[in-house]
């Protein structure tokens, strides 16, 4: 079968090309991956409000993702943890999430003297946890006008590796799915980046994720 099939033009970025695009976007704009309440917004980090809790005040924290690596159907990532599976038209992403918490107050051992003050003592060393994350989802297209549109990515499920107990894993998976989905929604690739500017694409079909490509079909504007 021809590349263009029943339409007149075809654009098919390979998963390797999309990973290069992810690399370029997240390297230029790392603040899309890094969120923290303890530093102001810059090119590197997006400031988020701290968690506010009575009697504690502001609880500072951070969430940092590594550049996600995408894999288009069929699965060639090697090691996708069950129960995740890659269905037709889907892509998977693999990343690591680093959770940072600035804990307040001293941590006491059993034989240490008792706590005598209600004034929390700020922690100078954050607690850091790194988790491996797998997700699956599908690309989403937005068309503004004939020849003008973009592709972004949505997650439907996330799986963490080696978190116990199961309830904690479910809680963190929900949280990280929401956060990582939000990260990926901010990556919007215009049509002309998916065909290296060969033509102005009036999208009529796609993206169809198959054969390790995200395939788009249409006609020239």
């Amino acid at each position: 079968m021809s590349l263009t099939e029943a339409e007149h033009v075809f654009a098919g970025p390979h998963e390797a090309g999309v990973n290069d695009l992810f690399d370029a976007v997240f390297s230029a704009r790392p603040r899309l991956l890094n969120y923290a309440s303890f530093v102001p917004t810059s090119v590197s980090v997006t400031n988020i409000p701290p968690i506010s809790f009575p009697m504690v005040g502001a609880i500072h924290y951070g969430v940092l993702f590594s550049i996600p690596i995408a894999d288009f159907h069929p699965d060639s990532s090697g090691g996708m943890p069950p129960p995740l599976s890659l269905g037709p038209g889907e892509f998977s992403v693999r990343t690591t999430v680093t959770l940072i918490l600035f804990c307040q107050g001293e941590r006491k051992g059993r034989d240490d003297p008792p706590i005598t003050t209600h004034v929390p003592k700020p922690s100078t060393s954050p607690i850091i946890a790194k988790l491996e994350v797998w997700g699956v989802g599908a690309p989403v297209v937005t068309t503004f006008a004939p020849g003008l549109g973009e592709i972004s990515f949505r997650l439907r499920a996330v799986e963490l590796v080696d978190v116990t107990p199961d309830e904690l894993e479910s809680l963190l998976e929900c949280l990280i799915r929401m956060l990582l989905d939000a990260v990926l929604q901010q990556v919007r690739l215009p049509f002309n980046s998916l065909n290296a500017g060969f033509f102005q694409l009036n999208l009529q079909r796609g993206p169809e994720v198959e054969d390790d490509q995200a395939k788009l079909y249409g006609e020239i504007v």
């Binding site: 021809s2 263009t4 007149h8 075809f10 098919g12 976007v25 290296a196």
Partner: protein, 267 residues
């Protein structure tokens, strides 16, 4: 597999061609020399339009019935004495009140003349084009469809029309010249016969062929540092990718001939 694969079929390729023809715009040339035995100066401008595409694997684009639209201004100059033989009014003798008197023989000096004409026409041709992919001096990847050889241009009808136009223009230019009246028709015939359709066809071919020989249409041109996203504020700089390699081919293996562009990219 390449990082990005993009393809167009013959229908879309025709649109690409039309866009490329528009980008090429109008080209002009001017020069002077000889046309037959006469001096001539000319200016011509031309642009391309139309044509249907046939993609021929592995690397040929055949454009059928492409129109070369041209306009030309031609001025033919010569000494009329080289066309019309020496002509002298004979002595005229008549009886007058002062006796029979005679005027002398008066030889007529024919002037030099310049005959300007303007002419526009379309000549249709078919040609094969082969792709040339290169990084140009502005660090842009460029894919040109370059004509293979020199197509045949049927110019005899145009040359015939131009010759007729020269005749008409010559008649208008020469008519006011004193003493030429009875010689005018013969002079015009001599001018057009001296130039001749064959010489004019050859001249027209030499004028128009450079427009088509070496003709190339740019079907792709993008900077090597390709912009993906523009800057969106002080914390969101522009996002670019490197186009590391570009290749183009005509592929018919899928049952339909397509022009396929493959690109390798890196962050």
């Amino acid at each position: 597999m390449s990082d990005i694969t993009a393809a167009v079929d013959e229908v879309a390729a025709s649109t690409l061609l039309a866009n490329a023809q528009s980008l090429l715009g109008t080209q002009s040339v001017s020069d002077s020399g000889s046309l037959g035995p006469f001096n001539a100066s000319w200016g011509a401008s031309a642009f391309f339009s139309g044509g249907s595409i046939d993609l021929v694997p592995p690397d040929i684009v055949r454009i059928t019935d492409c129109d070369l639209n041209y306009s030309l201004n031609l001025t033919v100059s010569f000494d009329l004495s080289s066309i019309i033989p020496d002509f002298c009014l004979p002595r005229v003798c008549i009886p007058t009140p002062f006796g029979r008197l005679c005027t002398p023989r008066i030889c007529i000096d024919w002037p030099s003349v310049s005959i300007p004409i303007s002419f526009s026409d379309v000549v249709r041709f078919t040609a094969d084009f082969r792709f040339n992919v290169f990084l140009n001096s502005s660090s842009q990847w460029q894919v040109d469809a370059v004509i293979v050889g020199i197509p045949f241009l049927q110019l005899t009808p145009a040359a015939t029309a131009i010759l007729a136009a020269i005749g008409l223009a010559a008649a208008a230019i020469l008519a006011p010249i004193p003493f030429i009246g009875p010689l005018l028709a013969g002079a015009v015939l001599l001018i057009t016969a001296t130039i001749g359709v064959a010489a004019l066809t050859g001249w027209l071919g030499a004028l128009l062929t450079p427009f088509v020989s070496g003709l190339s249409f740019t079907v792709y041109k993008q900077p090597q540092l390709f912009p993906v996203l523009p800057a969106a504020g002080p914390f969101d700089p522009a996002v670019n990718i490197n186009l590391d390699n570009v290749a183009v081919a005509v592929d018919g293996s899928g049952g339909e001939d397509e022009l396929v562009l493959t690109v390798d990219i890196s962050a």
